[in-house]
Assembly symmetry: C2
Amino acid sequence: MKIGDLARRSGLTAHTIRYYERIGLLPYADRNQSRHRDYDASILTWIEFLGRLKTTGMPIRDMLRYAALREEGAGTEAERRALLEQHRERVRAQVDELNACLLVLDTKIDGYVETEQRKNDDDAPVQNRIRGRRKPA
Amino acid sequence: MKIGDLARRSGLTAHTIRYYERIGLLPYADRNQSRHRDYDASILTWIEFLGRLKTTGMPIRDMLRYAALREEGAGTEAERRALLEQHRERVRAQVDELNACLLVLDTKIDGYVETEQRKNDDDAPVQNRIRGRRKPA
DNA sequence: TCTTGACTTAGAGCGCGCTCGAACCCGTAG
DNA sequence: CTACGGGTTCGAGCGCGCTCTAAGTCAAGA
């Protein structure tokens, strides 16, 4: 598979794939006789996993640490596991924080909903004007 | 309240507070006779809300839009509400995505746990060597 | 009076994660 | 043969969100 194909299949750009290889996030790719990168489909699994790490906010320097352990191969599993477990805790905390923010957003939005309702009340005929908040019938 | 106090109470740096004022995220602050910014405690509520928007990944340009509507005052509630509702949907999607990533992380970590167990099996005395994966008794 | 320290402004600099441009090299279709 | 649509390397540039420096002002305490 050439870099363009991998780009299409991975969702990254060829530029980004080269960049990732340059910094060590992707292993140095085999080249064909034209010195073009020639990928095995298995790289897609790794790119997808990197995407998960990225989505969950892991900085590239941490991904690099993980990638380096992976390159080292057997014997680094315990450290890789520890890295992922730490990261998992951070992500869980992040989810909790986002959920807390969602509650605040809900409250704020409810406030605007009530503003809207008061506005509708003011527009309504006199016999419907009752003090305070109220659902339309 | 002076900028240093606000910094301590808000968790932002004085630099960042001035930066936020410069770009319009914070309203232009009143100055005392020494041209120093003099804040009312109510600004803390707004800063805290900005923090929520930031935590949930809203880019500054979008916060600016919301801040501008807020400055405009009455009559902009519907648009502010719409902004927040759109943002809430994005945050919900983000939470879903993170939870999906957490599942993947769990799976990956489980893989390493099993690697570790196999390693322990190999270290164990012969009578405990049973083929395949297995919990310690 | 003098020192200290927090404030002011304008503008430069930085770390991150790409993103792109320049100049060049191939292989294939017309 | 030539044009084109990929690929290559190296290095510069960019958008974001701060972060910091320089040079100066001001008020309060020793």
